[in-house]
Symmetry: C2
Subunit: 207 residues, 2 copies
DNA sequence: GTTTGTGAATAGTTTCACAGCA
DNA sequence: TGCTGTGAAACTATTCACAAAC
């Protein structure tokens, strides 16, 4: 099935599979089946096999998947193999939490810069990263940082997004509760924490 | 179209519309069109109208939507109108950021309790909430807290989830990079921050 | 015997275009 | 005229079941 358009949903799931594969590999496991890996991750085994099938043959019939090569394949597809440097804008509670967040390393990410507008924070260090003046965002392209994380209040988010685009950023992870309008060449993924919480009551039994 | 199954995707979008409606209402706007509200939120106007159509007539042809009644409708559908109290487990960087997070109020949420396993944190206060011993999670049902937020490291997440379920929680917002297995009556929504970042490079132009 | 990879069937969602109401 | 509400069409994704590979 190698010559098909890749469903977005498949791309959304690949990091899940990657996390599971890394998890098992760290425990010393070398091979696994789609059934085992899928059950670990709460997905269906045929869903996982179908997703892999868009890219070629990852496994061996009768045997399963070799974790090391599976990890390599997914990393390459998602372009995580080269490593990526990101800048976080906003060094408040959320921004600081992101700077300290241990989960980015698994996917080859490093938060290499932090910015804030508050003069009292500028110059301080959080997790080894010096907080810089948000006015200096333009330096990102020179520093080869192509991903921006928006962790400022919603009211400031659109202008921060504009500044990131100006600075040559190609992808934005947006934590603000705002629609971020950018040129088509820039990809935005929004995580609106309160909004995700907001659909929980709908699915909860009455009470 | 009142007698249809509601698509999950529609439910996922309702909080978006709600946020936009509240935003406009706060600016003193009383009525709006699907075209205007949708463009503000980066969605398509017919998508929004279609979503509303599953629930009945929210608007007036030729006129548009009355924001106050639109907000009321969505709040009722999502069951946000009664207000909800949530407990956060884990008072580290992320948990503390959530306790300070201003965005929950819009949807009628209050973080009413916080728990941690670290004796040095227990008894301290963050944003007016006293951090309690995680061993006391069972008190949640007596306190009528039915939503739990998991903000602990992945290794501790499954047992925290079990404890939350034991405590009678009906919905869980999970920030840990782990699959959370719970009985069917409990709804889990997972926000895996690193994983969302992980699909950004795929969509970014080469470089 | 076991497990993958995938066409075909099913299910779900988006998009369109316009009838009908204000 | 302007805007909503919605069937029908188009598209996308999930699920199944099994042939092929080891």
């Amino acid at each position: 099935m190698r010559y098909h358009k890749i469903p977005d949903e498949t791309i959304r799931r690949l990091p899940v599979y990657l996390r599971g594969a890394i998890h098992l590999a760290q425990q010393g496991v070398e091979n696994t089946s789609s059934e085992h890996l899928a059950s670990l991750l709460g997905v269906k085994s045929w869903q996982m096999r179908k997703d892999f099938s868009y890219f070629g043959d990852f496994g061996t019939p009768g045997v399963g998947y070799h974790l090391e090569s599976l990890i390599g394949h997914i990393n390459r597809i998602l372009r995580l193999d080269a490593g990526h440097r990101a800048a976080v804008v906003g060094a408040g509670n959320l921004g600081s939490a992101l700077l300290a967040f241990p989960g980015f390393g698994m996917y080859g990410f490093e938060i290499a810069a932090a910015f804030d507008i508050d003069k009292r924070k500028i110059g301080r260090t959080r997790n080894g990263v010096v907080i810089e003046d948000v006015a200096k965002l333009a330096s990102l392209s020179r520093r080869k940082i192509y991903m921006g994380i928006i962790a400022v209040p919603g009211s400031a988010a659109p202008e921060v997004a504009d500044a990131l685009v100006q600075a040559g950023v190609k992808g934005i992870l947006n934590f603000s509760p705002r629609y971020i309008a950018v040129p088509k060449r820039v990809k935005v993924i929004t995580i609106d924490i309160a909004m995700d919480l907001a659909r929980l009551p709908y699915y909860m039994p009455a009470g």
